[in-house]
């Protein structure tokens, strides 16, 4: 358990958990404008979305490297549980 979210204390995490447990699920957000959880957003923006190579700004390999590093941060990829990407 790691409640140390940037900008959010443990109390917030507990409260969020309680709220979510009470409702059975998180309130509508996303399109409705309520701030979505960063991790849910990154799941989608780093592994989803249409992939275009774009222009030379970053080579594809470099982009992938950055993304892989990010996913490692996000998902705590360990040697025992290697990333499938």
């Amino acid at each position: 358990m790691d409640p140390e979210l940037p900008g959010s204390g443990f109390a917030d995490a507990v409260q969020a958990g309680a709220r979510s447990a009470a409702n059975g699920f998180a309130e509508e957000d996303a399109l409705a404008g309520r701030q979505v959880a960063l991790i849910d957003l990154l799941d989608r923006l780093l592994t989803g979305g249409a992939v275009l190579t774009g222009d030379l700004v970053l080579s594809i390999a470099d982009v992938d490297l950055v993304r892989i590093n990010l996913r490692a941060v996000i998902h705590s990829v360990t040697p025992d549980d290697p990333s499938p990407w």
Binding site: M1, D43, L56, V66
Partner: protein, 292 residues
């Protein structure tokens, strides 16, 4: 920062490049969608058209989006968050007006002409994807197992267990306690697995596609318990209410198991061609729409 006008290449004192948020069909809703939105550095979002398609873009300083700049942005969690939220804000706002194909984070072209060229080149692919996603939204469903929560009410339960334990030696009581914890732990994970299966079965008749994301762990993962399933479902807009109703309350009476629903999202998880393998795809769950 000076804002470049629609179609302009940007001021010459700062070299600008073209950040692409999403691609849709060239139509009135897309034009409307582009109005009033701003990108990550505050410049206006505009549409670049080509081959009957339109890309929602904005001009950004090249220095922030060249190799060095982009790396710096993506590797700094605060800047990454700002970029991700800005990207999402544009995509989500656009999706309220019309079906668009969200791009992956940090898709950058040198100028508008290159974007137009890209639209022409990939026209068929974009058309197929837009047709497939038309009128559909993405819902996220996460299942959590929290054995601690499952075992929490136990002490308040009938004193039968502790009564029998009180007659035994402290060592035996300890072992019994440990054993109980272990079985609660296993039961909770088993129950969470069962809930996940029920969700999959219920979603079968409502969703048209499913993608499994990696379960969330690490410093950004919030809330109590362990995330054991992190799935995205593509659901026709008209069935969203049914989908929510079906998923909500599924785990209400299951101690230690929590279901979290997020969305509706623009279909980020389904913006790649259906034929391309999803590396994280779990069980070969049913209703994959072929776009028919």
């Amino acid at each position: 920062m000076a804002v470049s006008g629609p179609g302009a290449q940007g001021e010459q004192n700062v070299t600008q490049v073209c950040y692409v948020f999403a691609v849709g069909r060239e139509d009135a809703p897309l034009r409307v969608a582009a109005e009033g939105l701003t990108g990550p550095t505050g410049s206006v979002v505009r549409a670049v058209y080509g081959a009957g398609l339109g890309a929602l873009v904005c001009s950004v300083p090249a220095g922030l989006y060249d190799e060095e700049g982009l790396k710096a942005q993506l590797e700094d969690m605060e800047r990454l968050e700002a970029l991700a939220r800005s990207h999402h804000a544009v995509v989500a706002a656009a999706y309220e007006h019309t079906t668009v194909l969200p791009m992956r984070l940090a898709t950058v072209y040198l100028d508008d002409a290159r974007v137009t060229g890209m639209l022409s080149e990939r026209k068929d692919e974009f058309d197929a994807l837009l047709t497939r996603l038309e009128g559909q939204v993405e819902w996220g469903v996460k299942v959590y197992a929290d054995p601690r929560e499952a075992s929490a009410p136990a002490p308040a339960e009938p004193s039968g267990v502790s009564a029998s334990a009180s007659g035994s030696s402290p060592g035996r009581a300890y072992l019994q306690q440990r054993r109980k914890q272990r079985s609660t732990h296993q039961d909770t994970y088993r129950a969470a697995g069962a809930v996940t299966e029920r969700i999959t079965a219920l979603a079968d008749g409502l969703a048209t596609a499913k993608v499994s994301h990696r379960p969330q762990q690490g410093e950004l993962a919030s809330g109590p318990g362990e995330n054991i399933a992190n799935d995205a479902y593509l659901v026709p807009d008209g069935r969203s209410d049914d989908f929510r109703a079906a998923i909500a309350g599924l785990a209400e009476d299951v101690p230690g198991v929590r279901v979290e629903l997020t969305g509706p999202w623009a279909p980020y998880s389904f913006a790649t061609p259906p034929s391309s393998p999803q590396p994280d795809e779990g069980s070969p769950q049913g209703p994959v729409d072929d776009g028919s």
